[in-house]
Subunit: 356 residues, 4 copies
């Protein structure tokens, strides 16, 4: 339930204002060099408090590996990683103790479980995604040895869309903007919302380069299906699109089909997936994030005893969750691809005979 | 791999031009009245050849229950259902034996497995979805006893969008159109494409009414994540959207949050899901289908030995897969909701004590 | 729930007196030659009615493959197999309709599900094991290509124990006796019980030869743990032993340890498993079957409304379930080994790089 | 792979001489009072160094809960628990760095993974079972609220068998002896082996009282099958027996069947399980442990480069692993029963309607 993946399986635990968050990554092949500095650098990309476009909560997000490695290499046993919470301000949340914040999971957790850790959203806080990034970093180390790359960037903020998708420039941008020419407008939109005590939505675009043909199982553990689950399962995500996605639904087959030549596909409308299986082209996803539900404007809601109240949220929040979310999308994509790579081994008798 | 679901788990088998297709549904609670006429009526809604808007392949799709029932009721043991293939015209496919049809899974299956049942797409054919509909019908019988309803309709064809979503009128429409005022334009678009040897994309909209609060597990078997996987895993689906979805990404938090009053949510931008858990509102999904890749226009492709060829497809195909796909979306939604209902039992000690 | 295995997963369905029984085998690698005659020959080894040592119910147990193969080879898609029930005599069971047979699952199914298919035990009948044997036969075909063998025989009947374990002579024995010198005494014990309207227990011994080192996952999908589940899950099995098993518990470490020389282990007390992982030696299991609970002697029991009755069972039953059970143990062992082989791929980065 | 359970799922991590060991317990129902003192007291029962009958390695085994609780109650989110390793003496193991200890997993881990944490056996050390006991303690807290009890004791050491099974006196015994009249002989056997640099095997007996009828899924997640996996998966376990088990295989059906009267079963030869489902009687298991493979007598083995050597092990080891193993068996039994309880909810439509 708090786990994901089949052959490479990770589980996370922890609450926003508990002792620590962490993850358990099971199925990592033995003999992988575990570059701890790289894992930390991935966490640093996601960590909060780096700029005015993010929440002011500062967390070091120092990751500690507890198991599964020996003399710098993975041993095939589960890798547990821990990140202590250091900058909790639980008292920020005393005012929401008995209140369901609109757009948050407060209402559903309370009704499902009859009890809820209200401090910072507890388990439902996006803070949990730090653990995903740690797990994803190890998946990336594994993919890296096979020359597979996972990249991401922000393609849209508050309706302002990128025309070009430059993943290298996105790395340098504080808001991970894919289109440098749109970056200042996108930043302005974020600050405008923030200054009016509001928030904005955005879109993250993910690309996976150099994945081999054959990833994905038919018909119920499809590459695109599992990626959709991985992304839709992220806080605030409300839509997921593969390749031309939404556009595909409004055009004709002759426009949408990718014709094939001896040296490969002529186009990549499909986003690298045919029949749920990778076709060797770039795998491309768009992930749509709603605006941060935590806003400071006054809102109507009810208490846990169903009394109507008006309230204004306090605390520290990202004005646009898509931005840091983009790094989490990368991690999820890396985890899915690594899982599919492992599952794909054993698809043919000839492959098995080569192995044994 | 060919299974879906956790506590209610179904598996399908069969190829388009093999002996039969079928499914195995495991975890159905005992004591459910198995209304075979209803199951057949659901299959009839999906079955091909009912109109000019669908493939001309006629299949009776008569379903046979092999196990798991006794004197008309489920016994708690797995329910196997079989649908014999009767109208295969395998020779239609002899011309694609060595050719990868653009937009199809031919290329990926061949490269993944080194062997491929080319007749009608084999396992990757949408024919497999008849088995999903059979399983979904049993899920619906179960949901029905709890007054939960799953409905669907076509909201968009070839860019022509519904303004109103009338699920009752959709039932009467031969193309399951949600907006009767757009139906004739949508039909015309389909026929225009068909007559020009082409195809069109479309969007199916699914609604789940009366689901209890609390469905969905945190954080990795979320209701929206699993629904996204279920839908994205369908042939030709390229995007999935929950609630306001794509729109959410371009607006502000104050516009997107659903405020709460004592008698419920004021709006339903969220599509009935908060933090991956149902909130008691209607659960709403949009599923974006690409145009049928099978078109009769000449296309460029390669053979299994990578020779470039131009070819025109023959055979019988739906000009717009979204239409019959809509019935499959319903089935998938019913299966997911039923699975989540079963999983939700045991969420609290008080619930467990009430049970035992 | 009605499935077994991780990477090679099979599911069974069907009741003793229903339309058919069958199985779905998922994860078979593509390109495996599917020798249908071999599959049938395995079913013939298990099928009832071959001698006076077995139930008189005659079933052809003709297996039909519905999917997953193409031109004689597996395609990587799920293989469904069907065996129609032809010789049901449901009226034999009308007298147990309202009665719980001692030693059977009647009592537990009724109380768990509130409904029960009483005809021949319904789902809980050992008839279901025909489907396991069909699935196991395909696993054997796969293992055969890797020179791995799975064999079995009867080592004990009614306390009469084999001193030698000759798997080749067991194949020729009508009761699969491993020790030809004990066969007539074992047969006599069976007939004596049968003639006094009783039944006897027995022990099946299974050996797996030539399995590679490394099968089994640490620490919760161990080779020996999964084999124990596979065997204990068979009807009438009450104990499972690996290697010297029970004896090990009463001796000293210096007697029980298998010392190692350059050319291998000096002894095989461990039964081929160390730390849950195969060590390259023969894998050896003993499986203890209770006597058939179906006996014709008068017994005390209650009805479904808890009325006390004395009754004598009718119908057709094996006097010693261990005998045909031995063939099922073989099938289960083959399925477990094949599953573990597939899972083992991807254990090391060097193996992965060799593959991709 | 490093996880166990279906609806209540736990995962463990950590190596004998790493930073820490721990576990993640997922699926605990919300609203369970988490009695930390009880969890610690269970760990104290298993912890080493309490007497001359155990290893001299002293570990405090202080458990720390990192997540999943709020104000003393479970919240429905995963509970992570951590136990730091404090008394590692890794240098004890420098002499086995390049040597495969007979009877240990050194050989198989090295060949499977190509790398091995040799310090104290790394992951394969029985130290990992402390994490199981922590998880099992929470399962016991849950079972306790339903009045279900899990108990254990030692029924046999070095061939010296208990005649009576007194679980209360076992609690008071330093070797958890079930039969006080055999305790001194059993202790003497342990010390005799220890003093001669050897070790002894033993048998743990587990009883589960007051489990409801209906636990266990047909036919592949059976209560007895899963218990067998749970127990056989423990280090040093070589056989598992349910009820009369091994004896059943040598007697007649009329002796072995449990007849039924209006007030229950007349006998309990079955050990509380019929058809894989609990029948309301005591569930009884015997678990056979081999002697500790770590002995100080000189043994023959090979190095990682396959050089033959004679060596005598150093370090600190239990002379009879069955004793502390018995506490682990209890924990595993509690986890299995709790998992089965949760899975059982939803078996019938009438139960579901009562719930929703």
């Amino acid at each position: 339930m708090n786990s994901f993946g089949s052959r490479l399986r990770y589980s996370t635990f922890g609450e926003s204002h508990g002792v620590a968050i962490g993850c358990l990554l099971d199925g990592v092949p033995a003999g992988l060099k575990i570059d701890e500095a790289f894992i930390q650098s991935e966490l640093d990309r996601r960590k909060p408090g780096k700029s005015e476009f993010e929440t002011a909560r500062k967390e070091d997000d120092k990751v500690e590996i507890l198991s599964g490695t020996f003399e710098g290499y993975s041993t095939g046993t589960p890798i547990a990683m821990l990140i202590y919470n250091t900058n909790q301000k639980s008292k920020d949340y005393s005012n929401i103790k008995d209140i369901f914040r609109p757009g948050h999971a407060d209402f559903t957790y309370f009704h499902k479980y009859g009890i809820r850790d209200y401090r910072g959203g507890g388990r439902s806080s996006a803070r949990e995604t730090a653990a995903r990034v740690a797990a994803g970093a190890i998946a990336k180390l594994m993919l890296n040895e096979l020359s597979i790359e996972v990249k991401s960037g922000i393609s849209e903020v508050a309706g302002i869309k990128a025309d070009i998708f430059d993943y290298e420039s996105a790395k340098e941008s504080i808001i991970y903007a894919l289109d440098a020419s749109k970056e200042s407008a996108q930043k302005a939109a974020i600050l405008k919302a923030k200054n009016s005590h509001d928030s904005v939505g955005g879109v993250s675009r993910i690309i996976i380069k150099n994945a081999p043909i054959g990833l994905g199982q038919p018909l119920y553990y499809k590459l695109d299906g599992v990626l959709a689950d991985a992304m839709m399962g992220l806080n605030a995500v409300k839509a997921v699109e593969i390749g031309d996605g939404i556009l595909s639904a409004s055009i004709e087959g002759s426009q949408n089909n990718d014709e094939i030549r001896a040296d490969g596909f002529k186009t990549n409308h499909s986003g690298g997936v045919l029949g749920g299986i990778s076709n060797g082209e770039d795998i491309i996803l768009n992930v749509y994030f709603k605006p941060t539900p935590s806003i400071f404007k006054e809102q109507e809601t009810v208490t846990t005893t169903n009394k109507e109240v008006n309230f204004s949220l306090k605390g520290r929040h990202d004005p646009c969750v898509a931005i840091r979310g983009s790094i989490v999308c990368e991690a999820m994509a890396a985890l899915v691809i690594a899982d599919m790579l492992l599952l794909n081994m054993g698809s043919t008798m000839s492959g098995i005979k080569k192995y044994y």
